[in-house]
Amino acid sequence: MSQLTDALTSKTATGNGAGAEPGTGKHGRSPGKKPGKAPKIPQGRFSVHFAHYKWLYLLLLPGVIYFAVFRYAPMYGVSIAFKDYVPFLGVNGSQWVGFQHFEDFFSNPDFPRLLGNTLILAALSLLVAFPLTIILALLLNEVRLSILKRTVQTLVYIPHFLSWTIVASLSFLLFALDIGPLFQFINGLLGTHIDILSGPNWFRPLIVLQDIWKNTGWGTIIFLAALSTVDQDQYEAAIIDGAGRFRRVWHITLPGIRSTIIVMLILAIGQMLNTGFEQIYLMTNALNRSVADVFDTYVYFVGITQGAYSYSTAVGLFKSVVGIVLIFGTNWLAKRFNQSGLF
């Protein structure tokens, strides 16, 4: 590992140094290790560079092949978004139809509803679930009793390992009309009759609550890791200056993990439109479908169950393009505000 880091560092060093002091940087090192190797290949600079680092490139190869085969090659299939794809005729045999499917989709009455539902659910999870993760991490970080901290941490991780099917079943048990204990509790409390499972107004709160219950604990991992890197001396200095706990969190802890928060936020925004197919699919029913249908469930419903592959591919492609725009947009914004972006 350290050899690799060495090599990587020297790569940048050479790359920069080559222009300024031709030869010296490289020859200072290479002849010592492999005498005579570099002079034997006097062609262009790239081949020299390549020959020198061939083992590193070899290490890179499996990664490149993996991405080429499993990530880029399947993109060929995206072309069916512009065709009238019939499986029997194959991708090549099907007719080109241009942007027909996109036009159909944008002019479909489903489109505004899907876009609205997807964005609202995504925004809710970004505004509610994401800050909660940070707050929980901060709270955990303030716990001084190590054994208590570890126990709580482990306990809040557990829901993450339950599948959505189990979470959905639990919700059905708890909120079942007339017999669920939580249903009875809430309705006893309010004295009214609230059907949380199928009431369209309750769908979004329910989804966000499930999401918080299942994922908040797990999400704290990365923030806790970031928190552990904050300089302890600063806290001591602050304590001497008379800063209280809240002040210390506000002025030291939060700025300390700011770059982590930004990176996580960019990643979260990139994933924004992936609203979690399983969870939503399991909680959808005829009564709440108007607020529940999102791009992911729609693609499944139209594409897989009805065999309209081209149309649903177009929908999926649209979703991906929006996702890319969001990632680049947030990244650009982060840089504008002098934060380190993702790339």
């Binding site: 499986p87 199928s198 369209p200 009564l287 009805q306 065999g307 592959y309």
Partner: protein
Amino acid sequence: MIPRKLSLAAAVATAAALTLTACGGGEPPAADSKTVTMMAPYLGAQPPNTSGAVQKKLEELTGKTVNITWAPNASYEDKTNITLASSEIPQVMVVQSKSPGFVKNAEAGAFWDLTDKLKDYPNLNTTLPDVQKNASVNGKVYGVFRGRAPMRTAVMFRQDWLDKLGLKAPQTVEDLYTVAKAFTQQDPDGNGVNDTYGITIPKWGALGTNSPYDVIEEWFGAGNRWTERDGKLVPSFETDEFLEADRFIKKMIDEKLINPDFATFDSTKWNEPFFNGKSGAIIEVDSRVSALISLFKQANPNDFQNKVGFVGNLKGPDGKLHAHPTDGYSGFLAIPKTSVRTEAELKNVLSFLDKMNSKDVSILLNNGIENVNFTVVDGKAAPVTPETAESKAVAEDIKSYSQLGTNVRNNEFYPVKQASDYEQKVFDKRTDVMAQDLKSAVYNPAAAFVSPTYVAKGAQLDNIVADARIKYLAGQIDEQGLKDAIKLWDTSGGDKVTEEINKLWKENK
């Protein structure tokens, strides 16, 4: 150490499998006339044993090696669509319905057109030409249909509750209302608490799927999916009877005669409230009668009689019986051209299917193996008692193997002899009631027709009305809202569907 070795073995196996598929991917090997590949759904918790007695006997009787890919029934439709888009297509595919994906492929030429071919095979030459037509795509037969008794609709109720309240079995929809109301309000279980519902309806909303809603609408005279009005076919939901029927259902829901969680209640739990004494009636296929009786019998073998009562279809408000039949088939066995390339190969596969529908194989697929899991008594198949491990295995396997049975010449296997005289009596009564109702069956006049617009977006269109129906019943929208949804169906492409269906109907009259 062992896990590490195992994972190494797994890695090697995966690599080997990848290499194999890579080789097979390009050009499928020339069809081996001794082997037939099939794809079918399985209904048990697990796919049947591929080296079990049923499989062996099947290969012995047909003289072929039969390779069946079993896929779970719940996701079979998805699996069909995905398989059609893959390169690994079996020679015979069970297709469960004329789904848009199937029709699209069929019209592009993915399946052999069997319209003029089936009559050459004695066991495939159907005695039910109407059902064959129903299963066709606008008259073109793309598969050997899997025949089912067309009349299966029944109303099942707690006979003990009915007796206790001194009521008679319902005959009309008004009777159903009376019974449901009494089951809800008159404390039929005698526990002094108002904790029962009249009828249980599960989450089952899609249009034209023989759901309790479809059945009640038909009883009211709305027709079966499509109905003829003034010399024209219209969708059932555009009739006044449809609205009338839904008003009737809504009234029962509003008065809490139906379980209030009908929109989310899981259909796999349908029997529970009935058995537990929470709810008194179920509207579904009559075979559920037997399932319910066995539940009571399992719980108490000494007191299970007269717990479950049933009647067939109910008379509508017009005093007439509009009985609800199915289309007489449950999907079909189609032969893809990708895997069966020449006429010679097709003949080979068809003669195999012909054997599959012979009396011997039909008995194997539906009854099992004689003297292993059943014996013939008075022309009926009586399960062997006591059960052995062997008989259990066969009985479990044929639940799934029966999915391969086509019975296009009516059932040639043995009817099952029921376990007790009481159950036999109920079974015989079921047969009688259904035969009687069949005379009043109102069929779907458009069953054989597939309109291009419907293929393109029919399922999404139907969803508009199906969801609105549930919303209306739950009180989320009013009747005007339901009517608006039906209008929306019209304007979003439904009008075109109606036009195309009528054109096909006139052409084929």
